[in-house]
Symmetry: C2
Subunit: 231 residues, 2 copies
């Protein structure tokens, strides 16, 4: 992978974290970017929705379980990721903002996070969402007048979000200019690699995908899950 | 997903962490288990190779870069995960041990980790490795006399590891009894879901995969990457 970077390539990547984020929404795209970062200069900010730099857990808060239903099993099973910033002390400039989904997107207290996404998106060229991360982007106005997609099992949740957003049910991901939204969870890997191809070139994306031993879906309209969930 | 658990199902899952672990090796399988843990009782231990409970970074240590070659870009791009245990203060009992790979498996100072894996595997029924995690398992004697696979781009690295191990080049994953080894990175998702099917049932694995909007590879001999890398 040649290091033929130019100043027009994105460098500063921010990823939103909140309690109850979906692990693969974050780490599918980040695994690809981790590999890319060895040959292209990239800086990562992990931006917590909370007011401290405490680790952020994949465990949904109790307020979310009250909405989606409590787990039927008594498990102790979560991972906590260390943020580098918070939405109250954010990084100064971003070229890419990645917004994951997860059960935590149903939390009742996300207004400060929505406000940060709205502010950050104004100065960030590339905005990418995975799964129900598009709900947050839509609430922040980022998807106003744009085509977008979201998680298919929870498709109904995007209803009423976005102002003039055209929600595309049958899509692995949707690109609208520099705004990219993917379907659920693993779809974020395909979207990120398609974005990487458009920005860094097809050879770079292919080499990263091969390093991940990942068979990409390269057709954005491929979506058996829209059919599965009757959309 | 019905909660028809019985006492024979595995509950206590341990995942090995070390500096320079591959993010998707850990979080592909864990995303599936995170979903499962809402309906089946599961407990997670994240076991650091270090001597403290400091967060463990995906960033390979300098000692590894000296072996595999330094990055050609000056990036600041890594994620740090909070462990729950260390190999020196490990969890008492495990039913499942998952060993990820990554550049960190090339570190010169892994003997304490190898020794822990050897000890833990003796009392752990299910041992699963992803990518070059099989190198660590082989060094610990876990793959002696067994069939196994590993990362394909770095296939040569398994040479001489394991005592009588039959290394299978053309495999998405290999099952040998309760020992499961996968090919590189994203192959861990397919292996984990195949393991989940064998232990929890096909319907459970299918529902988890559908929740991840993940199209599984269900044929363990599917492996275009073995061909790609001329194996």
């Amino acid at each position: 992978m040649a290091d033929n970077t130019t100043s027009s390539l994105p460098v500063n990547v921010g990823v939103i974290l909140f309690p109850g984020f979906q692990a693969l929404d974050v780490f599918g795209p980040l695994d690809a970017l981790n590999i890319l970062s060895r040959s292209y200069p990239l800086n990562l900010s992990l931006i917590s929705s909370l007011s401290t730099l405490d680790p952020v857990s994949t465990q949904p808060p109790a307020s979310v379980n009250a909405i989606v239903g409590a787990p039927t099993a008594n498990s102790h099973f979560a991972q906590s990721l260390v943020p580098t910033h918070t939405i109250h002390t954010p990084p100064p400039t971003l070229d890419v903002l990645l917004i994951p989904g997860g059960l935590g997107t149903r939390a009742p207290d996300l207004e400060p996070l929505i406000a940060y996404i709205a502010r950050a998106a104004q100065s960030t060229k590339h905005v990418l969402t995975v799964c129900t991360g598009s709900w947050l982007a839509a609430r922040a106005g980022v998807l106003d007048g744009k085509r977008a997609t979201s998680n298919k099992r929870s498709w109904a949740g995007r209803e009423g979000l976005g102002n003039g957003t055209e929600w595309v049910a049958h899509a692995r991901w949707v690109q609208d200019g520099d705004t990219w939204t993917s379907s659920g969870v693993s779809a974020g890997i395909d979207m990120l690699l398609a974005w990487m191809e458009s920005v860094f070139g097809a050879g770079v994306a292919e080499e990263v995908a091969n390093g991940m031993e990942y068979e990409r879906h390269t057709d954005p309209s491929w979506d058996p899950f829209a059919d599965l969930y009757g959309l």
